[in-house]
Structure formats: C-alpha cells, structure tokens
Subunit: 190 residues, 2 copies
DNA sequence: CATAATGGACTGAATGATCACTCCGAAGAG
DNA sequence: CTCTTCGGAGTGATCATTCAGTCCATTATG
C-alpha cells in the first residue's frame, strides 16, 4: 500500500516534469498532468498542496539528482584544472542528456520561484565548484576575480550551448563538448 | 491625430514592456497593461491583433533598438580583437542598462515565440559579430570552431552575468565588466 | 469461513476565479 | 451631423482547486 502511494506520487512528478518541459508551467493544466499520470485530477492534491507546491517538490527532486553529479569524482589531490573541467563537464553532459530536466530548471530559475529560491540560498557558497575555484585562485592558477564571475564564465557558455543543442539549433559532438570545456578553462586560467 | 494614435501605441508598448518584464507574459493581464498605459482595454486591440501580436511587435521594437548597438563602431580596418570586444561590450552594457528589455528578451527567447523565431532566422548568419569571428578564424587569431560555439562562448557569460546583476544577486563594477570581456576573448583566442 | 461494516485512498464533475477578446454606446474631430 | 477613435462592462473559455460520492482492502462479527 505504501508502495502504491509512492507510485502515484512518482507518476505525478514524472508526468509534470514532461509536461512542464514541453509546455511551460502556465500551459500545463493539472487536468493534463493527471491524465498523463493516469490518476484523477484530485489525486494530485492528495500528494501536493497546490500546483506551486508540486513545482517546488519537482525542483527539489531534480536538484537532488544533480547534486551528486556535481560532487562525484572530485579529487582534491588532483590538479585544479582537472577538477574544474571534471565538474563542468559532468554538468554539461547531464544537461545534454536530460532535456526535460534542463528545460524545467531553466524555467524554474527564471520564474519568481527560482528568484526567491536563489535569494534565500546562502548555501551556494559551499558548492564544490566554488571551493575548487578558490583553491585555483590561491594557487595563482586562476584569475583573481569574484567567484560569481568565475562561475558565470564557466557555466554561461555551458548553459547557452546546452540550450542551443536541446532546441535543435545545432548538434554538439563529443569533440565539440571537449573544445567548449577547454575554452571555459582558458577564460578563467591565469 | 496621427500623432495621438502613435502616442497610444507607444504607451501600450512601453506599459507592456514593463509589466511583462516584471510579471512574465502569463501574469500580465491585458487589463493591467491598459491601466498602466492609461487607455481602455479595447484600445489595445485597435493597435494589435492579439496579445501575441503585441508580444511580437514588442520584440521587433526592442530588436530594432538592439541592432544598431551591435553594429555601431565596427571598424573592419581595426584588429579583430578590438571589434569583438567592442561588440560584446556594447551589448553587455546595453543589457545591464536596460533591465526591462533584458528580461523581456530572455522570456521571449525561452518561449514558443522565440523558438519559432530563431528557427526561421537564417539571417542570423549575417549578424556582424559572426562575420568578425569568421575573419578572426581566417587570420588564425581565433580558434577554428563552429560559429555557434564561438558565439556561445562570448555571449554565454554575458547573459549569465547580466542576469545575476539584474536580479540583484551581486554588483558588477565597470572594472569587472572589462575583466569579463577580456575573459571571453581569452576563451576564443588561439 | 462467510459476510458485513469501516476507513481512507481515489476520482472527476462542479465551482469560482481569471483572462483574452468583443461590442456598442460615448466622445471627439472636422 | 458624420465618421473615427475610445472605453470598459460583458462574454465565453480556461484553469486551479474542491468535495461528494465510489471503491476496495482490512478488520470485525456471527
């Protein structure tokens, strides 16, 4: 029974991820979500207080899946460069491989939800990438710029190009992904 | 009379720019737009066929204002580096100085409107920046990568950081703007 | 065992709110 | 007085959310 309940919750999350990614939050009626999840419309409200709460829960879900992608494979003994390229690369590949998640996150960060979230997130400073960048600056391998800027130089191109690829504007070969990562490094290295 | 008609059209465009930037397309009722523009709701439909048409017209407007910012001051005799930094820098500063326009454009490019637009835009290849980048590649000053990627490397950080600044996450000093531009160049130069 | 009663997960039609858009009378120009 | 431009209440459509009732697994009763 507990199993079945979980199933419905999962089905609703999965269905809304797909539909939000395809149509946007505002063009995704709860009726369509419930249809794709094969549950009654009212059932959504047994698991989530409101559509907003569903969106927040979905964000937490995806963020939870992205976090390990960021941290896995970090080796503080290894050179800064390797660590930086590793992290950016894993995120880049994750975004390219998970279009629904990418589109959802983009929408989320742009919306009032994401703005509120980011403002309240002081934890952002303990993200592994920030630490690694700091170490690079200390070792005089990376430019001495505020971490927000270094962060933007790394992830700006990644997000920009992931979007181009996912909307079908062009194709990113594996080789090109590598070239982009190298270029990001060139932009922050001393 | 023609003057006054123009005034109302302008008022509607200006009001919707502000409201769209603040609330997003979907949370900007025509009633609120008309109120801020000090016209009747029906008047909007005298100047624009639909809300969608209004959004498209607004995009054309802003695109028209952005285009000269891109092209002005291009000097084909000058070094590629100067031209590239000049173009990116002018766009960066334009976005920072015009938050409403920036937020509108971001929303637009994410929405079905923008996706449709970009797909049909084969003119993108004659944007001045693309030509300059080509020249750089030919002169073996810039990496030999597809122009989409070079473009992404330049504008990814600019868009990413402009957003951070406009949502108040941190402050970009003039000095920092320069540092970002230099870094973008570092990422594409050979 | 068989049968009945209970509780709570589930459903989807009904509700009320919000909008885009229309339409017709009013206001203004000539 | 005619013809154009406005205004904003009204209309119909679309949604998020609710709730009265269904269904079924579990437990109680004989």
């Amino acid at each position: 029974m507990a199993k079945k309940e979980t199933d419905k919750r999962e089905a609703i999350l999965q269905a809304s991820l797909e539909i939000f990614a395809e149509n946007g939050f505002h063009s995704s009626p709860t009726s369509e979500i419930s249809r794709r999840a094969s549950v009654g419309t009212g059932t959504i409200y047994r698991y989530f207080e409101s559509k907003d709460a569903l969106i927040e829960a979905l964000y937490e879900e995806i963020d939870g899946r992205l976090r390990p992608v960021t941290s896995e494979g970090i080796d503080l003994e290894a050179p800064v460069r390797e660590n930086v390229l590793g992290i950016i690369g894993r995120i880049f590949r994750f975004l390219l491989a998970n279009p629904h998640e990418f589109k959802f996150l983009e929408q989320y960060y742009f919306s009032p939800y994401g703005v509120a979230k980011k403002s309240s997130d002081k934890e952002s400073s303990d993200r592994p990438i920030i630490n690694i960048l700091h170490r690079g600056v200390e070792q005089q391998i990376i430019k001495d710029l505020p971490s927000e800027i270094l962060f933007g130089l790394c992830f700006g191109p990644v997000v920009f190009l992931a979007r181009d690829q996912l909307y079908g504007y062009f194709e990113l070969s594996n080789e090109m992904v590598e070239a982009v990562l190298e270029s990001c490094w060139d932009s922050i290295k001393l």
